[in-house]
Chain length 356, copies 2
DNA sequence: CTGAAAGCGCTTACAG
DNA sequence: CTGAAAGCGCTTACAG
């Protein structure tokens, strides 16, 4: 009978493999005993060592894997965090951000779920992500630069879902790069080299706090040094919201060729700095001798094949800190946690030198 | 008594909200009745409409959300797919790939889980991702360019976990861009413009099928036209594996200034094409008049602010197709599915013209 | 049309 | 040291 049973087990193998019940039957022990063997370590296992061995051997032979969903249900903890990502500027999801969050969560035994809020979903009248509609995670990481639909905010509030806002600057429960201080420090460093005419350059306007903060830090350093802050602008700006990629080089040229061009530029992002670099080089300027260049960016890399001094965002760290904050939040959902500003640092002086 | 009970319910509110039992108690109906009301649509609900209304009202009032884990356990379906991502060239995870997969899965009622295989995990002797160790998903999407640890492959095989390989070219169960034909078509198009001297350019070697296929398609078109395929090389190549970003501009200059420079270049990726463009422009060449440029890439965008004709990878589609293939695989785990080659297309002629 | 009951695969007191 | 039993929150035949 035993052998016929084992045959059955093999041939009618279920997709997920055997359960503790089947292991128990095979060995003529109770389910509890099997459960104890597989869910404890050698040290804290109350079973006789021989029993434990026998069971673990059978589990290995039969290909047992614990059903994590059953465990979840029993313990009442999902051990799952959902990350909600907004589809801003088509497909913006920095890999290092996800990696940092996932790695921090994995260390604490949590899984990461990913949900995208694309335009299709946001515009369909009553769309609500499954993760808010059903109860399936312990908390939310929200990576969404602009507004979040009101209905979703209400649900989060209503169900008191522990939530941390990534890359946003709010009253509490958020983690963001320390743009203000980074801009302040970088500007001070440029000033210390002797520059008097330092411009601040950006192409976009999409209402993210970083625009205000990067300019703010720059402005503060300039004023403290008695210098005049200056947003570099190209008068007939094509569109108030965004300059199309195809036109950036043209605009960069105008900036480079302007009569009273600054001796140094602080750029909002690499998408601004690199075109400027290209325009400068192809206009015969030397960088950094004729023009110092510092930019914010995810990493010191751009397509030109030439490095630019970059104030690096460290989004991996941002992901980690967000995850850690969320786990704290899950412990005490009602407690507001102070915002965390992740420090940034400039990676090199490669495009930075005193003015001629 | 009713009111005292509702007080209790309110004050001792559990983190996930009430369960059907609590709804049932409140309304003096059975759990089954509540379950029927919340898990059916108006049409196929066997309950009296008034009963259904009453229950749904109570659910809304009390903030009921179905516990998706309990449902999962009952039905035996996880409705979850895990995506395993390799940490290649630090943090390579194209957002559009994840988006495509997640969107296709969401439409079929599946969730997406993300696991990263970083170096720390891969080098710790016996690391196995939780998703393979426990039973917690219905299938795997693997986005991993190079090898996958043998132990993991064994587990996938052993537990017969339905798996689809993204961006890999294998015998079966994979989805990849149609690099060969895209390179072939693009090269034919360059030839049709009258170019005879067309070079193929790349900086990297990391043993991905796309390197062989892109060159292969190019080579085939060249030979068919009676032209000589030519890998453009810079003799003292700094390293066989990779050319550091800082040296790319220098190398690009050498290529541009070489005596017998091709009149057109097909580039493996934007990281090659953009430095060449910069080198060309700053050497006084006109693009495309003096040099036609076509590159493979995720999208027509690069930091220079100048567009380059790009053979776009369409990774969103790749994500979708992979997800759909996996769902098919889950239906029939034992059936091998034929590889899918996702078509690519060149987006514009902006850096393409006849030779002078 | 509604309710009582079984069961998904675990975990965890508790009994022996 | 091991087993019997209850229960997590659902779904789903089945009975009435």
């Amino acid at each position: 009978m035993k052998s016929s049973q084992s045959k059955v087990t093999k041939s009618t193998r279920k997709p997920g493999g055997p359960s503790i019940r089947e292991i128990a039957q095979r060995l003529n022990v109770s389910k509890s005993t099997v459960a104890l063997a597989v869910s404890t370590t050698e040290e804290n296992c109350p079973l006789a060592p021989a029993t434990r061995e026998r069971i673990l051997k059978a589990c290995a032979d039969m290909g047992y894997r614990v059903n994590s969903i059953a465990r979840t249900m029993r313990t009442g903890r999902f051990n799952t965090i959902a990350m909600i990502v907004g589809k801003i500027s088509p497909y913006f999801l920095p890999a290092e951000l996800v990696y940092g969050a996932e790695d921090a969560l994995e260390k604490k035994g949590y899984r990461l779920n990913l949900t995208w809020l694309d335009n299709r979903r946001l515009t369909s009248a009553n769309y609500v992500p499954k993760v808010l509609e059903e109860w399936s995670c312990d908390g939310l990481l929200i990576h969404y630069a602009t507004f979040l639909p009101k209905k979703m905010l209400e649900l989060i509030e209503r169900h008191q879902i522990p939530t941390v806002w990534m890359n946003s600057k709010l009253e509490h429960d958020c983690v963001h790069p320390d743009d203000f201080n980074a801009a302040y420090d970088a500007t001070q460093r440029i000033i210390a080299l002797g520059h008097k005419h330092i411009g601040y350059l950006h192409f976009h306007h999409f209402e993210h706090y970083s625009e205000t903060d990067r300019f703010g830090g720059y402005e503060k350093a300039m004023r403290e040094a008695g210098l005049k802050p200056q947003r570099v602008r190209v008068p007939p700006m094509e569109s108030p919201a965004e300059i199309r990629v195809d036109h950036r080089q043209e605009i960069a040229r105008k900036i480079i060729q302007a009569r009273n061009r600054p001796t140094a530029l602080l750029c909002y992002e690499m998408e601004v700095a690199a075109p400027i670099l290209v325009a400068a080089l192809s206009s015969g300027l030397r960088v950094p001798e004729d023009l110092s260049l510092v930019t914010f960016g995810r990493y010191n890399r751009n397509n030109t094949g030439i490095s630019i001094s970059t104030i690096q965002l460290n989004l991996e760290e941002l992901g980690r800190r967000s995850a850690d904050m969320l786990l704290k939040k899950i412990e005490k959902p009602s407690k507001f946690l102070s915002p965390i500003a992740v420090p940034l640092k400039m990676d090199s002086d490669v495009t930075l030198s005193p003015p001629l």
